[in-house]
């Protein structure tokens, strides 16, 4: 089993980075072993990458359902726990029920979307990571796995595509 190293190649713009991704594919690196880190969101289509999965919409839907059930509990179950007569309204009022259901459904939707981001991205995470601060200055970085014996070839390929720097990726505290 050949030794594999993580490398970080930093590019100034999107186009050279996309060329480099193609080059890496030609050199036999699979898509899973490539990760692109950028300072602005670059779409999958621009990068020519397979579609990125995300659980956020499913979690959002689940949260909305949970919120709806919580609202249904407050609207339909709770008034009977200690029934009190008020004004000219029945124990379960009509229109106010919609208000309660709506608000709690939306709260469930949004809270679960927010927590979904945390869950999917594994936030918060403070362990050391492969990163260079230049990325938040607008650079596009390629994080890829390369076999130890082909290092020179990969470095050369990246530099031909226009990389500003190609370094072994060190996991540092961010």
């Amino acid at each position: 089993m050949t030794d594999k190293h993580l490398y970080l190649a930093v590019f100034a713009d999107i186009d050279p980075a996309v060329q480099a991704v193609d080059r890496l594919r030609e050199l036999g690196v699979s898509d899973e072993d490539i990760n692109i880190i950028s300072g602005i969101p670059v779409t999958q289509k621009m990068l020519g990458r397979p579609r990125q999965w995300t659980n956020v919409p499913r979690l959002a839907l689940g949260g909305a359902i949970a919120g709806f059930l919580a609202g249904a509990f407050l609207a339909f179950v709770v008034p009977y726990l200690y029934p009190l007569h008020v004004g000219r309204q029945g124990i379960i009022p009509g229109p106010p029920t919609f208000v309660v259901l709506f608000e709690l459904t939306m709260l469930g939707l949004m809270a679960s979307t927010f927590l979904g981001v945390f869950l999917d991205s594994r936030f918060p995470t403070y362990s050391p990571k492969e990163y260079v601060p230049a990325i938040s200055d607008g650079r596009v970085a390629l994080l890829f796995v390369c076999p130890a014996d082909m290092e020179a070839k990969f470095i050369q390929a990246m530099e031909t595509c226009g990389a500003d720097s190609v370094q072994p990726a060190e996991a540092q505290k961010l």
Binding site: H85, V86, G87, R88, Q89, G90, I92, P93, G94
Partner: protein, 252 residues
Amino acid sequence: MSQTNLPDFKTEQSLDETGKWGMVIDQDLCTGCQACVVACAMENNIPIVGESDAAYNRAMYWIRTERFWSGVYPDVKATPFQPVLCQQCGFAPCEPVCPVFASVHSETEQLNLQVYNRCVGTRYCGNNCPYIVRIFNWRDYKRPEPLDNQLNPDVTVRRRGVMEKCTFCVQRIRKAVDKAESERRSVADGEVQPACVQTCPANALIFGQIDDPTSQVSRAAASGRAVKLLEELGTLPRITYLKGGSDYVRNS
């Protein structure tokens, strides 16, 4: 009520249901002496707010005597005296708006209850009462000695931040009902008299059970002079006012 099978989100009470306790106020007999105001204050531990707060409409009397007039003596035109107290509405607007259920409807006495220890003081009920009969404890008003000896032990002493209003002297109602139950009889007509009814020197206030057609109050409410305050709002008040029969009013 609706003939269809759709859920009717209003209560099942029909519009002409009367409920138990009610009052008749005869405006042609009322002399405006305000003995009812004093008696109510004594019976229900109502604090004295002092001159400046009273001038700012913060006097805490649960019953007030209203009168409007125009002109200068001796050419004064005036309305009859109108004592206004909590109407104990059948469909009370103050009840649904309290966020913590401090203003609820009593099923047994058919009264509107104010639960002092649940009130958090949002004062929505005060805004939603069309008769403006709900009173708020704006401060902790002191009772200088020896006024603190006069407190009625049957009635809670309220602290600041709590809403209150006329209860038809529910403590007297409960006492009479308990006594009648222990003596295995029903409450006699005229046995229960709130402080204002008991005190009125002109006998202008009558109190009793309005679901009993033979009671004094039911017979008085059947008079041709009967009106209800703000009847068009549909609050179903339990108090009937009698007016229009007095010679003084007709000739002024």
